[in-house]
């Protein structure tokens, strides 16, 4: 299926989803908002982690900056929501440029650890800031109407996915993929790897921050622990990888699937959702490490042997 056809199908899907607030139950709408936000986070991570091949554990910083930007603007300065979102996004982009530059010089797991360190530092710094409410955090004004948040989240996800679709067929995107596959060769072929990496990082920071702002306003509360939560970062990575990192729709698929599984388990077996989530991750990494997108593609060719092959290829 060509990209244009996939996008057309997705557009229909978006239109259909947009109607949910009118007929869905309150629980469904809330589930929807969470799933849409997570999908946006996974899709943004896809830009730096999936396409460029730099697995960032610092996206939680962008989420937190988006959340705090919005919260500080609205609570401390009584600015409207849009201004808060803009502030959050600007902070995130600034961070991406300033700290992206030194940190993107690191390869592989060192980059991952460095971004993890940055996330911890930011959480610690923010918990000491008066304007951010220190350890206690901030409480935002309540806006009733989940429908609005649902549509906002849906719109943001659609926008992020469109950007990723553009990346996948653009000169910029090819440059990113070349960097992922072989950075030294990419440089020698004429790609300004430093610029491209920082741009990818900055791009993903914008969408992550916007998602953080929307989510924070909806929850009406944030504190340093929840804003810069590393496990949120790992969640978005797992969703992106589970669905298929480096593909246009993989992360969205992964986010929706895992959210649905988690929700179903939570309602059936209440508190065991966490446990099953962990087990699903473990099983997925062993049997389908390249994600759902790859599974769908290759299942037609090899059938059930797909899982066996993955294990054989990666075992000691």
């Amino acid at each position: 299926m060509k990209l244009a056809q996939q996008l057309a199908l997705a557009a229909i899907g978006v239109a259909a989803l947009a109607t949910v607030p009118w007929w869905g139950s309150a629980v469904l709408i809330q589930f929807g908002i969470n799933a849409l936000i997570l999908a946006t986070l996974a899709q943004s991570w896809n830009i730096i982690g999936g396409y460029t091949g730099y697995p960032s554990f610092g996206n939680s910083v962008f989420y937190g900056l988006g959340g705090y930007g919005t919260a500080i603007a609205m609570v401390q300065f009584h600015l409207p929501f849009a201004a808060g979102l803009a502030l959050g996004a600007m902070l995130a982009v600034l961070f991406a440029f300033l700290l992206g530059l030194p940190v993107l010089r690191l390869r592989g797991h060192y980059f991952a650890i460095a971004t993890l360190g940055l996330a911890e530092v930011m959480a610690a710094i923010v918990s000491n800031l008066e304007i951010a409410g220190r350890n206690v955090g901030l409480v935002l004004p309540l806006l009733k109407g989940d429908a609005l948040f649902f549509e906002l989240s849906l719109g943001l996800l659609a926008l992020t996915t469109l950007v990723v679709a553009w990346i996948s067929r653009s000169r910029f995107g090819f440059g990113l993929v070349a960097i992922r596959e072989n950075e030294e060769a990419a440089a020698v072929m004429g790609i300004n790897t430093t610029l491209y990496k920082v741009l990818a990082f900055a791009l993903c920071s914008v969408f992550t921050a916007l998602a953080g702002g929307i989510h924070t306003y909806w929850i009406t509360y944030l504190d340093p622990d929840s804003a810069f939560d590393i496990s949120l970062n790992v969640k978005m990575i797992i969703m992106a990888v589970f669905g298929g990192a480096g593909t246009v729709f993989g992360p969205v698929l992964g986010a929706f699937l895992l959210s649905a599984i988690s929700e179903v388990l939570a309602s059936r077996i209440t508190s065991m959702a966490s446990l099953f989530f962990g087990l699903v991750i473990v099983a997925a990494i062993v049997f389908m490490p390249r994600g759902f997108a790859d599974l769908i593609r290759r299942f037609r060719e090899v059938g059930w042997r797909y899982f066996q092959e993955n294990v054989k290829a990666h075992r000691l």
């Binding site: 697995p55 030194p102 940190v103 010089r105 690191l106 592989g108 797991h109 060192y110 991952a112 650890i113 460095a114 993890l116 360190g117 940055l118 911890e120 530092v121 959480a123 610690a124 710094i125 918990s127 000491n128 350890n135 590393i230 496990s231 790992v234 990575i237 797992i238 990888v241 065991m272 966490s274 446990l275 989530f277 962990g278 087990l279 699903v280 991750i281 473990v282 990494i285 062993v286 490490p289 294990v311 290829a313 990666h314 075992r315 000691l316």
Partner: protein, 287 residues
Amino acid sequence: MQLLWQVLVNGVLLGGLYALMALGLALIWGVLNIVNLAHGALIMLGAYVCYYLFTGFGWDPFAALPVAMLVLFCLGYLLQRYLLNLVIRAPMFNTLLITFGLEVVITYLAQIAFSADFRTINPSYAGANFPLFGATVPVVRILAFGVALALTVALWLLLVRTRIGRAIRATAQNLVAARLYGVDPRRLYALTFGLGAALAGAAGSLYGVVSQINPYIGAGLTAKSFAIAIIGGLENPLYVLVGGLFLGIAEALTALYIGPTYTDVVSFGILVLVLIVRPTGLLGRTA
């Protein structure tokens, strides 16, 4: 001046424990190239084993420590042998994610089994202190420091002086060559992971004596262990010791001169700086 000395002593004692915490992580990372996000969870389990031996059977925590090490060794061996060995040739990123999954599972099971309450291991001598050139040193902390130091040196000796240690190091450098020498990598990897887990178990037992534990301490301890391992350098247990001492002292000084809420800023700030400027660690060879 007096206060500074006390703070430095505190820092050094904390640093020893820090080093032990990071040791298992550094070993597994350095030898198996596995970034173990479940490391903190293993520390937590070690703490609980020690706790239940103490409260259930009245064992002194320092006597329970070897048992905790043994239990964690077996757990680690099994995990590596039957689970992690399945994904070890995949991109390193995959082991990172799978260990995260393990962390979620372990934490959840611990929460069910042990409840979320804070606990601490309080032997009868918990409140005893003794003076050290004017500083007050809690007996448990100096004992913990001693144990941590001993284990670090023991690991170093194991790696450098024994046959099994040489096999471990050889496998770390060149799996194919090691195989040609008759090393069975599956067992050796499992053994190494077990060793790393055992060290985590020891660290957990000591942690339970000097601080409070609950099922959720894992993630924070993992992050801290990363910082220590990287700052010191992954190559050598003695480097990790230096990393631990360095961070322990840095945190103690930060708490004194800047404020106790800033210790994480300093620890992780140093981590990021070290990664940017000298990724092989303060003592490691330049890349």
